[in-house]
Point group: C2
DNA sequence: TTGTACCTAACAAACGTTAGGTTTGCTTCT
DNA sequence: AGAAGCAAACCTAACGTTTGTTAGGTACAA
């Protein structure tokens, strides 16, 4: 079945959780090591520095998001379908991997300049994918939007925000939330 | 005109800025003192601890938000007007005081249990105000929303998110952005 | 003279990081 | 098969620095 998780992967996983709990500067490597089942110093056998752990975490997540969203969009034809797919994906990805996505959305300020640029570049690529959908919707289906970039950001923020309050044991499923959010974006609050 | 700012207020202001820059655990009191024009230890003449600075910051901000939003809503009559007013206010408040609002939205995890509860209580009061508007819109104007709480959160997240990218020197004013966001919430993307 | 506002210097603890040693499992040679 | 070699994975103990916080003092205005 699934391979046994490598220690390196385990450290990254625990780091995501710990960084979300305490923030990057508030998390310490001894605690991270403990949760990963090794001693403090042994972290450095797998990573060169604390900073590298953060960078790998964020860089991996961004790559994964771009790849997975692109895959999903292949099956969608119209801009309308693509928009709904994107809303679904973005919410689902944030809710299922809340640690990774929280770090990636929120710890940019703690990246050293070089790492910062690389992660931001990937984030911009991801945004661009959604922006293109908005643009296509405008030209092909007459969507009512002046600034595609503006609404791209609105979509990203509101969908990412779901992860901060969503409760798997609550009375709404991810799909139901995604449906509701997609409806809001498409049709708005006012009656038609 | 405006009174000379008290040292205490200055420290809070600089703390908001510093905490946003580095995160609460990443910010240190000597740097905060330096920016406030005093020596490290002197912070403790004004505050009992680093934690108290964070709490005062967040608590003040939440109180201010509740008060100011309530004031603004007095002039609005219909749920429709109230919704637009809320969108305007929430965006404007986040864009004009990005340090305070960022901390308040983001540093909950670093509050000690007692402080946490008090700030969350105020945050919930703020949310409740918006939720009531959603509910009124549904019953009085037939808005299309199943879960008012759901859309309240969507509104809050997407409007707060503006502060992360808004540029006062860019080619859109706060008002223009607010207009666009309010339109999106009311009417959605699809043509009518 | 009394209290507010601040400074200086130090404390103990916690931090990221490093050096050097030990264990473990695999490969290679005889 | 068994010994020898080796690199990866990990441990232990320590380093220098930074951290929040405190104690005790000074300057000054009411």
């Amino acid at each position: 079945m699934s391979e046994p998780i490598s220690r390196r992967a385990l450290i990254l996983q625990e780091a995501a959780h710990l960084f979300r709990e305490k923030g990057y500067p508030g998390a310490n490597l001894r605690e991270l090591a403990r949760r990963s089942g090794i001693q403090g110093g042994s972290i450095y056998h797998h990573f060169a520095s604390k900073q590298e752990i953060l960078f790998q975490l964020m860089d991996n997540t961004m790559s994964d998001m771009i790849e997975r969203l692109s895959e999903r969009l292949i099956d969608s034809q119209t801009p309308y379908e693509k928009l709904r797919t994107t809303v679904y994906f973005h919410i689902e990805y944030h809710v299922t991997g809340p640690d990774q996505t929280y770090i990636t959305d929120d710890e940019l300020r703690n990246l050293e300049p070089e790492n910062y640029l690389r992660v931001v570049a990937k984030r911009d690529r991801y945004q661009k994918i959604i922006e293109e959908i908005m643009l296509a919707g405008k030209t092909e289906e007459g969507w009512r939007l002046a600034e595609p970039k503006l609404y791209t950001r609105a979509l990203i923020k509101m969908c990412a925000g779901v992860a901060t309050w969503f409760n798997p044991d609550g009375d709404m499923s991810i799909t139901q939330v995604a449906e509701a959010y997609a409806d809001l974006l498409c049709n708005g609050l006012l009656p038609r």
